[in-house]
Structures are given as structure tokens and as C-alpha cells.
């Protein structure tokens, strides 16, 4: 059939133009960005690991690194959705129909996590067994041994 490319469907009024060279450049760039972000994430992950190994692990520092990893993950998600899934090329209203419902996750996550934390506090207060058996007295130190641990295979 000899259609032109821009009438693949009557619902589509205009086709996004990708010049081949441009497109390849964009994909290459995004791939590199994703790889670098992942590498940085892994670096942070290993940093957390070394912090845990140290004598006095600083929980705030660990939390900070975890926060940075989360932000990097969101950046990765942005690149995948906007470039690989071409959402960035769609018209604005379409983008909004996808992005706006995702905002529901904010409250979804906040409420669930807050509730989980509150459940922990309640049990620590009223359930001595739970508190004693699971309290991480020396949680951070405990993992120092991991470096030489090999008993798994």
C-alpha cells in the first residue's frame, strides 16, 4: 500500500519528525546519561556499604545518600519515560493526563510510610517481645563482618 507515512491513522494529524541523525544522537545521549546515573547510584550504594563498615556509621549521612539515590532514580525514570517512551514528544495535554494522576503517589507513599512507622512505634511501646527481639542495638556495626563473609554458596 502506498500510503504516506503521515497518514498511518486518521486519528493522527501530524507525525513527529525525527531526522535520523538527530534521533541517533538523542538515543546515544540518553543511553550514556542512564548509564552514568546508574553508575553513580552504584557508587553511592557502595559508599553506604563502606559507611556501614566503619566504626561509627552516621545515620544522617546514610540517609542523605539514600535520598540522593532516590533522586537519581527519579531522574532515570524521567529519561526513560520522556525519551524512550517518547512522552516528551507528545502534546502537552497528553503529558498532563499521564503526569497528573501520578501525583496521587505522593499521598499514597506518605500515608503508607507514616503509618508503617507509627505501627513500629506502637509495637515498640506495647509489645516488649517485639522491641527486644528486633531492636537493632548494634545494627550498623553488625554488618562490618560482611566484608569477609563468604558462607553463602
Amino acid at each position: 500500500m502506498d500510503h504516506q507515512q503521515d497518514v498511518v491513522s486518521p486519528e493522527i494529524t501530524f507525525q513527529h519528525q525525527h531526522s535520523d541523525a538527530d534521533f541517533r544522537k538523542r538515543v546515544r545521549k540518553t543511553t550514556i546519561i542512564l548509564s552514568i546515573l546508574t553508575a553513580i547510584e552504584l557508587g553511592f550504594g557502595l559508599t553506604i556499604y563502606t559507611i556501614h563498615k566503619g566504626e561509627n556509621p552516621n545515620p544522617t549521612l546514610v540517609l542523605m545518600f539514600k535520598g540522593m539515590i532516590s533522586i537519581l532514580t527519579l531522574a532515570k525514570a524521567y529519561y526513560i519515560v520522556s525519551v524512550f517512551m517518547h512522552l516528551g514528544d507528545e502534546i502537552r495535554n497528553m503529558i498532563m493526563t499521564i503526569v497528573v494522576p501520578l501525583l496521587l503517589f505522593i499521598w499514597f507513599i506518605t500515608a503508607f510510610i507514616y503509618e508503617g512507622n507509627s505501627y513500629k512505634n506502637l509495637r515498640n511501646r506495647y509489645d516488649p517481645h517485639f522491641r527486644e527481639t528486633m531492636m537493632p542495638s548494634q545494627h550498623h556495626k553488625a554488618d562490618t563482618a560482611v566484608k569477609t563473609q563468604g558462607g553463602k554458596e
Binding site: 486519528e11 550504594g45 525514570a77 493526563t97 503509618e115 508503617g116 569477609t148 563468604g150 558462607g151 554458596e153
Partner: protein, 291 residues
């Protein structure tokens, strides 16, 4: 029947244009993915809620530190980063397949979608290895004054606190039955076969055990295994169905179905699904392996 099918499958359209400049199938795929994002979101958020409700959670660096063929070496995050890169690369090949479809380049589509399938299968194999490793490779755990061999499965987690009370451990070792002693030693030291070890008396076995090296732990939070296998399993199921979908696309492309149709929109839809699978992995990677 074939004429009826014409009526059923024709896209009647007289509204002029799509407000989103998208054909309905792609729109439906997007909204399906939205909905699926809420399925995964609910899983991961439940995991978060449970994790926050625990006083102790295993360090992923301790749990995921093995690499195929590397024996007992401690390589935290190494294997999972390989898996992550496999999925990212397969996402890239999918983008190239979709692009080839835009250019009506049949051979390009075939080539890139085949690579995507390879990537998907590679990822699934990695996951199978990792599951197998966790489900079979146990280590010593202190339970009720005895040492047990325990593995990571849906019902139990062996990655609790490290036991540092040596007297308690020594006492526990004396309560530990013969079979467990044999397993413990065999696990760390392959120089003797199980039969040889089993023939030795308990006292000799106990002498062979260096408690400091065994890193005996307590039991960890049970929910860890349930969520890990549940969520990575659900994700693996998505990868698997993505591979199936891509294989169907490959066959249809080879048969020239899209060529005759004049467009490769189906490839785009399959591509959206595949990228979504990659996207979910980004978050699974975050929640289980990194933080």
C-alpha cells in the same frame, strides 16, 4: 463472516482528529501502563510500609553479594548492576526497533527486536540464577539456642543481626545436631565430601568450626523474602510476557503483517510496554538493592 469483520474492525472516525494526536491503541496502552504502575506502586509501597514497621531490616549489600562463577567472594551489587545494564541496553534496542518501524525499515525492526528479546531472556536467566542462589545458598542462623542452616525463602529470612555473643554461640554449637554441623562445614570448606564429614564424630566437627568465620546471624524479618520474591517475581512475569509479546511482534514483522498494513504502530505499543518493564526495574532496583 469476513465482511462482518470489516464492519467490526473499521475505525469509524469523523471527529476530524485526535485531540492527543495519538491513535486509540497507543492511548489505551499508556493508560494501561498507568494502571499497572499502580499495581507495582501498591506492591512497593506495601513493602515500604512493612519495612518502616520493622526495627531491623537486612542490609542489601550483605544479601546480594554473590556473582555467578565467583564462588564465595564478597561482591555487593555487582550482579544486580549487570542485570540493570542488560535491561537498559534492551530498552535501547527497543527504541531502535521502534525507530526502524517509523522508517518502514523491516529488516531494522527484525534485527533490533531480536536483540531486545535476547536482552529479555538474558535478564530472566540472571533472575533465575539469583533466585536459585538465594533459595538454596543458606548459612548458619541461631534459633532457640541451636544453630540451623537457613535459606532465604518466602517463609524465612536468615539475614538478621550478626550474633556477637561468643559464649551463646559456643553453647548453641554444642546443641547443634550432627547433620547441621556437617552442612555448616561443607558449606565453607569443600575439601571434604559430605560422606566423609558425616562419618566424623560431633566433637571433631565442632573443632573444625571457626565461629568467627561462620558469621552466625539471627533470623531476620520474614516479610523480606515475601516481598523480594513477590515483587521481583511479578516484575519477572512482566519481563516474560514482554518477551512473549516481542516474539509475536518479531514473527508478525517477519511475515510482513506490518509492512502490508503500512505502519508499525504495534511495535510502538510493544515498545511502550517494554520500556515500562525497564522503568519498573529502575524502582525495584532502588527499593530492594540500593536503599
Amino acid at each position: 463472516m469476513s465482511t462482518t469483520a470489516t464492519v467490526h474492525q473499521t475505525k469509524w472516525w469523523s471527529g476530524g482528529k485526535s485531540p492527543f494526536n495519538l491513535e486509540y491503541g497507543k492511548l489505551m496502552m499508556w493508560y494501561f501502563l498507568m494502571s499497572d504502575a499502580f499495581t507495582f506502586g501498591a506492591f512497593l509501597i506495601s513493602y515500604g510500609a512493612i519495612r518502616f514497621s520493622q526495627n531491623f531490616w537486612p542490609d542489601p549489600n550483605a544479601v546480594f553479594n554473590a556473582f555467578p562463577g565467583m564462588g564465595h567472594q564478597n561482591l555487593p551489587l555487582a550482579f544486580v548492576s549487570v542485570m540493570t545494564f542488560i535491561l537498559i541496553i534492551s530498552s535501547v534496542t527497543m527504541v531502535l526497533a521502534v525507530h526502524a518501524g517509523h522508517n518502514q525499515n523491516k529488516n531494522g525492526v527484525i534485527k533490533w527486536i531480536a536483540w531486545t528479546i535476547v536482552g529479555g531472556l538474558a535478564f530472566l536467566s540472571c533472575q533465575a540464577w539469583e533466585w536459585h542462589h538465594l533459595l538454596t545458598g543458606g548459612h548458619g542462623v541461631l534459633v532457640d539456642g541451636k544453630i540451623q542452616m537457613a535459606v532465604q525463602n518466602m517463609r524465612g529470612n536468615p539475614w538478621g543481626k550478626l550474633v556477637e555473643n561468643t559464649t551463646a554461640l559456643t553453647a548453641a554449637l554444642n546443641n547443634t545436631p550432627h547433620e547441621t554441623l556437617v552442612q555448616l562445614i561443607h558449606f565453607h570448606d569443600h575439601t571434604k565430601t559430605l560422606q566423609e564429614l558425616a562419618a566424623m564424630p560431633d566433637t571433631q566437627l565442632r573443632g573444625m568450626i571457626d565461629l568467627a568465620e561462620m558469621h552466625i546471624r539471627e533470623k531476620g524479618p520474614v516479610a523480606f523474602g515475601g516481598y523480594f520474591f513477590g515483587i521481583t517475581g511479578f516484575h519477572g512475569f512482566h519481563v516474560f510476557s514482554g518477551v512473549i509479546i516481542n516474539s509475536i511482534m518479531l514473527i508478525m514483522t517477519k511475515k510482513g503483517v506490518f509492512e502490508r498494513k503500512g505502519h508499525y504502530l504495534m511495535i510502538e505499543k510493544a515498545g511502550l510496554y517494554w520500556h515500562f518493564v525497564d522503568l519498573v526495574w529502575v524502582f525495584v532496583f532502588l527499593c530492594f538493592y540500593l536503599i
